[in-house]
Amino acid sequence: MSKKEKILLKASIAFALLFAVTPAVNAMHIMEGYLPPSYCVTWGVICIPFLAAGFISLKKRLEENRKSITLIAMAGAFIFVISSLKIPSVTGSCSHMTGTGLGAILFGPSAVSILGIIVLLFQAVLLAHGGLTTLGANTFSMAVAGPLLSFGIYKICSRLKVNRKVSVFLAACLGDIFTYCVTSIQLALAYPSESGGVAASAVKFLGVFAPTQLPLAVIEGILTVVIVIGLESYARPELKAIGFLKEAK
């Protein structure tokens, strides 16, 4: 082997090891302090209309039925718990669900935006997943963009009379992939590549996180389907109460 080949071999071994020993693969929260201040502020401002919409719908819901506060709080706690538990994975590294796709399907995207920012705040403070300065960017990708897409896909699929299991799978899985794409683009906008600008940088971020995020999205889809099946067979009255099973009456 020539010297260069040796270096290349060593580099590739190091790269492979990196994936083998990654301690915890999260749903790609941008870590604390990783974004420049201007981007932190911008993403925060972009989130405001969505959060306001969520806040208004939350208030309306509580005025209609004050009892729903505990239900909404439970939903938030559920999203936090389900996203903090290790899920079975293919590679053996430990990874976590986002749970926001499920939340969006069950409770609607407007409720998830407020629940999402609370859950992200708890995740940042209690688990150091994400951070306080990057809260805006993470809220946009995980509590706004992903759930909106999940909800949209779910609605379109049910309009087109697609099998419910398939539509739940697609909603959760594609919502996850969309979140990962948005996060990569957020990182790329903040750190454009030296050769090729934002686009090249986005491709690099997508590529680096693909090995962990793509299997995760599929697993998240499968798990969401299993959870929804379980709910449909054991909790029909509750599902009707939150408006998920309206058409099945």
Binding site: P23, N26, G33, T70, A73, I114
Partner: protein
């Protein structure tokens, strides 16, 4: 169950005024990401480690393993920043692969290293807050900052129920494990999903009971909690102000120079 939450109740700095700790960590965090310098971030990292481990009494080993939590993200995304694939080699390093080069400039490698140090310093600020301040104290600080009442109330309830649901979930996971529910990927996926739906059903049922319990204690749309008062000490305020002024001066000086 949640390591940070357990540790913060043991911290010796727990009874220091929460507003002080919040202001200190937020301002320091801000200067870290604005200045993005080796010197300032290194200093902040050292000061925060001394405060949390030395003053707060958090075990060093726990602190280090907590600091490593975001390492996967840090390593992967910094790699994405400093590694380029291009036809023209850059001045930092260049590995030829076929007709292309895996390459990066000196400036970008330096930038990447600086980003790592800044991010670690920022995480240490976050940990200073979360390892020395209880979540309820943080929520009362947020209340002082005019965070909407409904949101605060939701936070309070969610925070309480995280632990209840976690306990339920871990009991379910243990019993699944005891019945070989995780013997291969297929069964473990099914088990986890069933645990999820079981958990959500329990959560729904509990939410009804919880509301009844709250109503029987005169819940009228607002949860009123007594807060412990720990007034800020003038000496601590002076120390924080002077520290932040030093950071500000350094940031401005670097910005000008």
């Amino acid at each position: 169950m949640i390591a940070v939450d357990k540790l913060c109740y043991r911290s010796k700095l727990r009874y220091v005024n929460a507003g002080e700790k919040f202001t200190y960590s937020m301002l320091t965090l801000l200067f870290c990401i604005v200045s993005r310098s080796f010197v300032l971030s290194g200093a902040v990292l050292m000061v925060n480690t001394t405060l949390t481990v030395g003053k707060g009494g958090i075990p060093l080993r726990r602190y280090i393993s907590l600091m490593a939590v975001p390492s996967a993200f840090l390593i992967l995304s910094t790699l994405a920043i400093i590694v380029n694939i291009s036809k023209i080699p850059l001045d930092g390093y260049a590995l030829p692969v076929g007709t292309f080069f895996i390459t990066g400039s000196k400036a970008s490698v330096l930038f990447g290293l600086r980003l790592i140090v800044t991010a670690l310093a920022a995480v240490s600020c976050l940990y200073f807050l979360s390892l020395n301040t209880t979540m309820t104290d943080i929520m009362s600080v947020l209340g002082g900052l005019r965070c909407p009442k409904i949101v605060l109330e939701l936070m309070l309830l969610i925070y309480r129920y995280i632990f209840v649901l976690m306990e339920t979930a871990s009991a379910m996971l243990v019993s699944q494990k005891a019945r070989l529910g995780n013997k291969d990927l297929k069964t473990s996926l099914r088990s986890f999903g069933r645990m999820g739906s079981g958990l959500l059903i329990r959560a729904f049922q509990r939410s009804g009971t919880l509301y009844d319990a709250m109503e029987s204690r005169c819940y009228d749309g607002r949860i009123r909690v007594l807060e412990e008062q720990h007034p800020a000490k003038p000496s601590e305020i002076a120390l924080i102000i002077s520290y932040e002024l030093v950071l500000l001066a350094y940031t401005v000086w670097r910005g000008v120079a």
